[in-house]
Structure formats: structure tokens, C-alpha cells
């Protein structure tokens, strides 16, 4: 019934406009010189408003953006992002200006004739070649970063970690002393072996399953991703890292953490952000929050997609080794 009520309201509003139209309809329905003048000026005003909105957003919302990259590879990402964003802002500012300024400047006047100007080979060449050259630069730069980020072959002494996704939680598996991950398949899932590790593979014995992701600062990490049910995406925004987890195959992504969690908590941007968050939380009467790196799911995966998370703790290599030594291996766990 309530739905009918809302539909009725919408119909009433629309018919109000219907009635209003009766009043307005006394006027001519094709733009007159007066309309051109008024609307042209509005175009100019809109341009000012639009610039104000853009400047406001960049100023006000800078505080919510991600802090500097917490991975070595991410530094190049940030540079590429900086230059690309710079280019976008410049082009946007110029093009929008000309668009709205011309809409204002050349608003129609009766008895004036427009300038018949159908073509200019020279101009066309300029605005084909300029973007082409700029884009060539952007493509080359982008591809060099892309290859850098996706090619793990030049990483020295990488640590192997499997990140395992399912509805709606993450698990992780460290490769252990041999630094080799044992095979896995969903057909081996049984009881406590929740990731389906194949225990007949000798590499599996020393693998260490965990529910928290600890990473050593300064050591390259090669992540192997698996999923047991639907597509998930392992998104670690602070490290500029993301890869889908695909049932039936193993995907990978690598980066080298460059800032420990403690260091990031002392980052100026993060301090301000956390302060702001805690102010908001205090108003709502919620607990205070402390910064942690995040692993989120970024591919729609079902009802609790929005709440599929795991903390990432980056620490000095010694602390990391200590933590890892305190965890039980697959063999130990299965024995119990």
C-alpha cells in the first residue's frame, strides 16, 4: 500500500509540472534572443560553479585519499599516477573552459550570421598528432611500470605466500622452511585442512596456514592466489596491489613492503586521517580506531562481499621471523 502512496506522490508531482506547463505555454517554445542571452550566461556561471566544485573536491577530499605507497613497486605507480593525473587536470581545465566560454560568448543574437568554417586540415592535424604524441609517451611510461609490477622474475629471494579466498573470508599459507608451497585442490578439503592442501606433496609438510597476513619489510613477497568457490579479488590498496582469485587456477602478484605498520601509523597523512575517523566514531559512540593495512575483497562475491577482510601486518624481518616461528605447520596441525 505504501508503494502505491509513493507512486501517487510521484504522479502528483509530475502532474504539477503538467499544470505548470499550461502557464509557461503562453511563451514561444523555440529559444529567443532573450533565452540565448540568459542560457549563455548560465553556461558561464555553470563553468564557474564546476571549477569551484573541482577545486573544492581536490582541496577537501585530499584527506580521504590513500597515503603514499607502502611498497617499493608502488612508488613508480604513484609517479605514473601523478603525471597522468596532472595531464588530466590540465586538459580538463582547458577543454571545459573553451566549451563553456564559447557557449557563453557566441550565444545567439538575431540577424547575426555564424562564421562558415567547415574544415581546417592544419587544425585537424594538430589535434590528431598532439594527443598521439602525448599518448605515446604515456603508453611507454605506463607499460614500463606495468612490466615492472607484473614480472616477478627479477625479485631476489622472494617469500612465497598463498592467499586463499572463500565466501566470505581470507586465509593465508606460508611456504615454510623450503619456501615452496605444496599443491592444493578443493578436493583435498577436509576438516582442519580448509585450504585443500595436498599432503602427499612433500612441499606441503612445512607449509604454515594462518588467519592473519604478516609481511616482512624489505623482502619481496610473491603472492599466489586461489579461490574455492566464486571469483574474489585480493585488493591491498596501500601497496598498490590487486589480483583476482579465480576458482580452478592460481594467479599471482608480487610486491616488496617498504613501510611497517608502525611506520605507516606515524605517517602524517594517516595520522590526520585516523584523527578525523576517530572524531566521527566518537560522535557515534563507537570504539576508537587504529590504522592497519587492509586486504579487501574487490570482486562481487555474494551477500557478505562488503565484509570480507583480513588485517595485514608489516613488520621488521626479525619480528616477522619470530611470529612465523610461533605458528604451527600443516603437519603439526593435522597431527593434533
Amino acid at each position: 500500500m505504501l508503494a502505491l502512496f509513493y507512486i501517487l506522490i510521484a504522479v502528483l508531482i509530475a502532474s504539477t509540472f503538467w499544470q505548470l506547463t499550461n502557464i509557461f505555454n503562453l511563451k514561444q517554445d523555440i529559444a529567443t534572443e532573450e533565452d540565448n542571452d540568459q542560457q549563455g550566461k548560465l553556461m558561464f556561471a555553470f563553468m564557474i560553479g564546476f571549477y569551484a566544485l573541482m577545486i573544492f573536491c581536490f582541496w577537501k577530499y585530499n584527506a580521504v585519499l590513500l597515503p603514499e605507497s607502502a611498497s617499493e613497486e608502488g612508488v613508480r605507480y604513484d609517479n605514473l599516477y601523478f603525471w597522468t593525473m596532472g595531464l588530466i587536470i590540465v586538459v580538463q581545465a582547458i577543454m571545459q573552459f573553451f566549451l563553456f566560454y564559447f557557449a557563453y560568448k557566441y550565444r545567439g543574437i538575431n540577424n547575426r550570421k555564424a562564421f562558415f568554417y567547415a574544415d581546417s586540415h592544419k587544425l585537424e592535424m594538430i589535434w590528431t598528432i598532439t594527443p598521439a604524441v602525448v599518448l605515446a609517451g604515456l603508453i611507454l611510461y605506463g607499460l614500463s611500470v606495468w612490466i615492472d609490477m607484473t614480472d616477478p622474475s627479477d625479485l631476489e629471494d622472494p617469500l612465497y605466500i598463498e592467499v586463499y579466498a572463500k565466501q566470505f573470508q581470507w586465509e593465508a599459507r606460508y611456504a615454510g622452511t623450503d619456501n615452496q608451497l605444496g599443491r592444493g585442490n578443493v578436493r583435498f578439503i577436509e576438516g582442519i585442512n580448509t585450504m585443500g592442501v595436498d599432503m602427499t606433496d612433500i612441499n606441503s609438510a612445512d607449509d604454515i596456514p594462518t588467519r592473519e597476513l604478516h609481511l616482512p619489510k624489505g623482502r619481496p613477497v610473491i603472492f599466489k592466489f586461489r579461490s574455492q568457490d566464486v571469483l574474489h579479488s585480493a585488493y591491498m590498496p596501500h601497496f598498490r596491489a590487486q589480483m583476482n582469485c579465480v576458482p580452478g587456477m592460481v594467479t599471482q602478484f608480487a610486491f616488496t613492503p617498504s613501510m611497517t605498520t608502525e611506520e605507516m601509523r606515524l605517517n602524517k597523512h594517516i595520522i590526520a586521517k585516523v584523527e578525523n575517523i576517530n572524531k566521527i566514531r566518537a560522535e557515534k559512540g563507537e570504539d576508537s580506531y587504529e590504522f592497519n593495512y587492509l586486504l579487501l575483497c574487490n570482486k562481487i562475491c555474494g551477500a557478505s562481499h562488503y565484509n570480507m577482510q583480513m588485517n595485514i601486518i608489516v613488520e621488521e624481518e626479525d619480528d616477522f621471523n619470530k611470529w612465523l616461528a610461533g605458528q604451527q605447520s600443516m603437519t603439526q596441525i593435522l597431527k593434533q
Partner: protein, 583 residues
Amino acid sequence: MSDHHHKETFITKYVFSQDHKMISKQYLITGIVMGVIGIFMSMLFRLQIAWPDHSFSLIEAFLGRHQDGGVMTPDIYLALVTIHGTIMVFFVLTAGLSGTFSNLLIPLQIGARDMASGFLNMVSYWLFFLSSVIMLISLFVEAGPASAGWTIYPPLSALPQAIPGSGTGMTLWLVSMAIFVASSLLGALNYIVTVLNLRTVGMKMTRLPLTIWAFFVTAIIGVVSFPVLLSAALLLIFDRSFGTSFYLSDIFIDGGVLHYQGGSPILFEHLFWFLGHPEVYIVILPALGITSEVIATNSRKPIFGYRAMIGSIIAIAFLSTIVWGHHMFITGMNPFLGSVFTFTTLLIAIPSAVKGFNYITTLWRGNLQMNPAMLFSIGLVSTFLSGGLTGLILGDSALDINVHDTYFVVAHFHLVMGVSAIYGMFAGVYHWFPKMFGRLMNKTLGYWHFWISAIAAYGVFFPMHFVGLAGLPRRYYTNTAFPYFDDLSDINIIITMFALVGGAAQLIFLGNFFWSIYKGKKATQNPWKSNTLEWTTPVEHIHGNWPGEIPEVKRWAYDYSKPGYEEDWVCQTVPLMEGEEPT
């Protein structure tokens, strides 16, 4: 066409009509109805995003068992974003936009009495109607409609155990889309054949208005890519119903292993985006075509760089079929393939930039007639630029890594193809309303409609970029599970408020549209003083379009403000003056 005066019954005139003008109106009305539903859904889920635990009687009223005390469930949230996307992309901006204006304008602007096959045209519409009805029925099934996102990636879309919407809801979605593909193929083949074969004397391809070029090329992309969606859907139906393993492998769900072995979801992603990416050009090209026509007419100037515009349309169309992989940079696809797709994707910026520059140059030193259609066209160029530029980030595989599937993407594509295409559609409706209904739409309400929409659109989608850059993934029921995102709640509330205002502003359009059909000012034959052939037909619709002979075309469509002519327009049928260079 000797029989164009035969008697029409109500059924043959208004229901099973084979007249392209009536079919065009049928497409438009159906598109508007679907648009109202699609936009309304976005209002509902924006309420949820801004005020996650708040109880809304609006939600209580419309979501029935999918809500609890005015708060929607996570499942219906996902269903709403899924169906919103499906309806807006396919039903409104593909069928509603292309179907309406290709049908209306192709015969009228090329000088033909009707489409090549009126019968196929009619079948095309009714298949579209059927698929719309099935899609709407799917909203009412027990477990809820399809909810795996409009991209329906398996395994989520294949397994009802994974999400309830993947049961009957998804079956109906697939059936509806299969029928939709058939409809759009029949339509597209008809458009292509008509443009190639039924042009009037003198209407060379290089004299076609840019609208027709856009519709023609759009139809070609549709014919090339839509069948692939059909095969993707068929294989998914096989996996779902007959136990095949095209897309599924090694799945453990509900405490047991499923039998699927050897398939790959990535195959589906390739097939889906082989349509999915060209699809965004199927959506935007007609809008750009309409804009070319509206901007030229209302600037009283020839469109700048006519041949370059055609070249750009063709280049965009060609490139659009080889860039689909940029939706898949982080799916586990080989990184080398990613490099190739980055290259082809960023190339699209060149023809797109050319189009942008040419529109702006067309305005330069014009004599701009600020009709509502013109405002929407200028708005389109603005949003197309704003949205297109961020494509430089998303199309670059490296940069895509960290913004993929965040709100940055949502902001990008809503501006570049959502808002832009909707603006194109509005521009088309305001501009050709006199041709469709013989009356003019109210100007003042048109202005209000544009300005509120324009402010709301940027109010929604500009701040949204920052939500994405902050790292918030899309399709999250709420971001309250992560205290890290608590500082985004303000932006989300602002966005929702603008969205509600923008949605409400469309009521102005609806009121104006239906009012004007019956009571709008009677239009003269050529209210905008336009050069193209559709304005040489009588205001009252007749079967066969022209009462006598079809006019012959002597020149291109853009001789506005041509020196040597007294008026600032020269109809395509006017013979060249002595010494005038042929166009």
C-alpha cells in the same frame, strides 16, 4: 510504395505497426518506462549507501520481503545494482536510445519511405518488449532477481548456493537477454541494409548527416559483438542447467565439492567483454551522432571537420572491438596481453579527442540557439570530456591495478557513457519531438530539467572519484565494516542527496513529455531551421513519409550560414548555386 494510403486499424497502427515512426515511438516509451524503473532503483541503493542502518519507509514500501523494518538486505542491494546496470545499459541506452532514433531518423534523413523490412522492424520491437517484460517479471521471483552484477561473472552467476539471485532470477535474466540480443540483431541488420540501399538520389555516403553515420556504425558493431554475448549466455545456461564445465572448475561450496572440472571463468570474461566493451560504444556513438546534428543546427554552423568526424567514428568502432581486455587487467590474464590491450585502449583517446576538439570548434564563432536540446548537447560534450579523461587512468594497465572495481570506475563510466548517453537521448527527444509528435516540448521546463540534471550529475559523479581513490570497492552493501572508510560517510551522503535531486528532476521531464504530446504548441514543419531531410516531410505523419516524390539531395547536411545565401540554412534539397563547390 503505391499502397501507402491503405486503411489502418488500431492494432496495425498503434500495436503491430510496421511504420518506422510508430516503432520509434514504441521504443521511446518503453525505454522511458524502463529508465524510470532503473533510475528509481539507483535512488533506493543510494539511500542504503548513505544511511546504512537507517530505516526508510520508501524501502519498506517497495522491497517487500527483501527488507527488514525499512532496511534492505545485502542480497537485494546486490540485486538492485545488478538490475539497475542491466536496465540502464541495455534497455534504456541501447534499445531506448538507438532503437528510438535509428528508427525515426534513418529513413527520414536518408530519404527512404521506411526501413528495408518493416516486418523485421516490428518483430525487433516486440522481441525487445518481450525481453523487457521478462526482465521485469524476474524482479518478483521468490529468491529475488539476478544479483551477480550486470556483468554476471560465473561462478557467482552459475551457483544458486553462492547467492540466491542466481536461481530463477538469473535464468530469467539470461532468457531475457537472449531475446534482447535477437531483437537488437534484427534491428541492426535492418539499419545497415536500409542505410546502404535506400538512400535517395544524390545522398552519397559522404553527404549523410553524422547521426546516420553514427547509427550505421553502431549497428555494425552490434552485429559483430552481440552474437558473442548470446554464445556466452548459452554456455552459461549449459553450465547452470546441464552440468557442463565451460566456466567452472574446482568448486567447493556448502560443504561439498561440485563435479565441475576444467572450465575457466576467464573464458566467460573474454566472451562477455567482447560484447561488453563495444557495447559502451553502441551506447555512446548514437548519442554523439545526435549531438553532432544538434550542435551544428543550433550553432548555425557546419559541424567542424565532417570527414574527420566520420573517420573518428570508424576508428572508434574498429578499436572498440580490440580493447575488451582492459576490463581484465587483474583477472590473472597474461600480463603481456595486458600490455597489448593498454596500447589499443589508449589509442581510442585519439579519435575521441578529435571529436571533442571538433565539437568545441563548431561552437566557436557560431550563433548559438540555446534550445533545451542544445543545452543537453553541450552538457554531453562536458561530461564526455570529464569522464573520458579518467579513462587514461583506467585504460593504463599499471594504474588500473589500484583503482579497478573501485568507485573511481563507477564515476568514470557513469560520466562518459551513462550521463553522456542520457544527455544525448534527452537532446534527441527535445530536438525531434516535433517530428515525432507534431508538437514542441515546453522550453522553460526543458531549461529547468537541464540545469537541475547538470548540477546533480556532477554533484554525484565528481566527488565519487575521490571515494574510489580512497580505495573503496564498488558493490559494497555498506562500508561500515571497515572503520578505515568511516571518513567517506560525508561524501556518500552528499552524493546521495544530489542523486535524489537529479532523480526527482526527471519528473519535470516526464511531466513535460506527456503533457506536450497532447497539449504542446503545434510545431511548424521545420522549427529549428535545419537542413536535413526529415524536416521536409509534413508535420502530420503519413505512411511513406513524403506525400509525393522523395526529394533529391544536392548537397551535404551542414550548409549553415553559408556565404552567398540570405538565410542561415540551406536545405539538402536546394541545388548548388552557380560556381558553388560541390559537397
